[in-house]
Amino acid sequence: MSILDIFQYGFMVRGLAAGLIIGAIAPLIGAFLVLRRYSLIADTLSHVSLLGIAGGLLLGVNPLLGALAAAVLASLGIEKLRTSRRIYGESALALFLSGSLALAVIILSVGRGFNTNLLNYLFGSIVTVTAADVALMSILAVIVVAVLGFLYKELVYITFDEESAQVSGLPTKRINLILIILAAVTIALSIPIIGVLLIAAMIVIPVVAALQLRQSFGATILYAELFSLFSVVTGIVSAFYFDLSAGGMIVIIMLAIFLLTYTIKSRPAGGPKL
């Protein structure tokens, strides 16, 4: 079997394309979530999406639409709870994560017929990606890149110092809302490909790895992109040749990169003081 065999299979080409698209947009969103200590929101929204998928399967609606609706609604609820200041941000996330998982499990116990179908959503299935999926992901990618690019300087400011950004007159609430909705849509649409359990890893790990290198903001995003795309390609190719789970391989390779950057740049916490 030659190394190019992978391209003879249409499903692998589509899988690679979809994987690369997710690999490109996940760290863009991740950079702004991780630096706000909001990494867990990715996990929460993916579990909420599972609820949407279960609901969709039960009602006979397209599960992807169910995931999309659930994730966007939950993101609005989470943001509202967080800004109410009556509940800590991470507690709001825990409420949504456990609540949606509980509801999803109940729905699944009601309709036992579609449990096998659900497994695909838990772990994703790169081999079943259709041309329509790739087209949908491409549109999403264009929107995410355009919006984040447009609001880049505002997002950097708000992420670094939300209070001062608000005082200076930036519409911080609306920008926060836009970011969290973009995260919800990205997560929901990525689930059939990478799975509920691993999408959060794709958003968080490349950014955490890039942060170890201590670069400027832009350079950090570039490194995260590099790590992410490299992991997607090597993960999918190795999964194809050794018949392993692609999603699992991608995340393990990302973790290996993180370990590498962490050990290379190990330094005392807080950095050197002059």
């Binding site: 001062s164 930036l170 002059l274």
Partner: protein, 256 residues
């Protein structure tokens, strides 16, 4: 020399009260701040200094009373770009945040540049001027977390100045930083106020130092205990008039 009209009020605070839950922090505070003023806002810990600052900045909403900015009610104020804010260092920022000094200073230009517009050459020029003023232009490509506490605070001051404000709020700007940086910050504030007419509102618990720097002193202890020039303040406090009002924290400066 810019024309400073000391008779024009920039901020008018009328009968403002504020509570966190059942815990009343500010009671019936009225205070005017005029153009070109250098106001030292002093008081003991928990007196409500930072709360008052946050009310003025619109980060909190008063339970009762009114705050006017440039003659307009706060919620209708459209002049936020004339205001800069140097937050309390203790509230902290992430020292591991991957951002260069110059990028931080440019943030001071973000709001007036406009949503979705990248920083212009003019923004970069103003950022450079501001960094030069605080003596840190040569640090522009360093990560903010790699600077000393005093240098970081000067970067935040530069960020505030880059927006070319008419009004500058500083919350405990010299707390926890080295003596040399403290002196540099005070000298720069003096110059900005006296020579360029920049209005300053400085929150501090170092009364002795503020008496030497500011044009007016406002003492806060849940309510406004006094609002006077440093000379009047010293006279009154020596005669015991304001010290009687639960303000024993002030008395230490007599010994110097």
């Amino acid at each position: 020399m810019p024309i400073v009209n000391h008779s024009q009020n920039i901020i008018e605070i009328k009968n403002v009260s504020f509570s966190y839950g059942h815990n009343q922090v500010l009671r019936d505070v009225s205070l005017n701040i005029h153009q070109g003023d250098y106001l030292g806002l002093v008081g003991p810990n928990g007196a409500g200094k930072t709360t008052l600052l946050k009310l003025i900045l619109g980060l909190l909403v008063p339970d009762s009373g009114e705050i006017r900015f440039f003659g307009r009610e706060l919620s209708k104020c459209k002049d936020w770009s004339k205001i800069s804010y140097v937050p309390q260092k203790a509230t902290g920022f992430d020292v591991n945040f991957p951002i260069k000094v110059e990028e931080v200073v440019l943030m001071g230009r973000a709001a007036q540049r406009g949503l979705g517009r990248p920083y212009s050459l003019e923004d970069k020029k103003q950022a450079r001027l501001a960094l030069e003023r605080v003596g840190l232009w040569s640090f522009k490509d360093r990560l903010i977390g790699d600077l000393s506490g005093g240098q970081q605070q000067r970067v935040f001051l530069a960020r505030a100045l880059a927006g070319e404000p008419r009004l500058l709020f500083l919350d405990e700007p010299v707390t926890g930083i080295d003596q040399a940086s403290q002196e540099e910050i005070y000298a720069l504030l003096r110059e900005l106020n006296r020579q360029e007419g920049l209005t300053l509102i400085l929150v501090s618990h170092d009364i002795e130092r503020i008496l030497a720097e500011a044009m007016h002193i406002a003492c806060l202890n849940q309510t406004l205990v006094c609002h006077a020039s440093p000379a009047e303040f010293i006279k009154e406090s020596e005669s015991g008039d304001i010290l009687g009002q639960n303000l024993r924290f002030l008395s230490h400066y007599h010994h110097h």
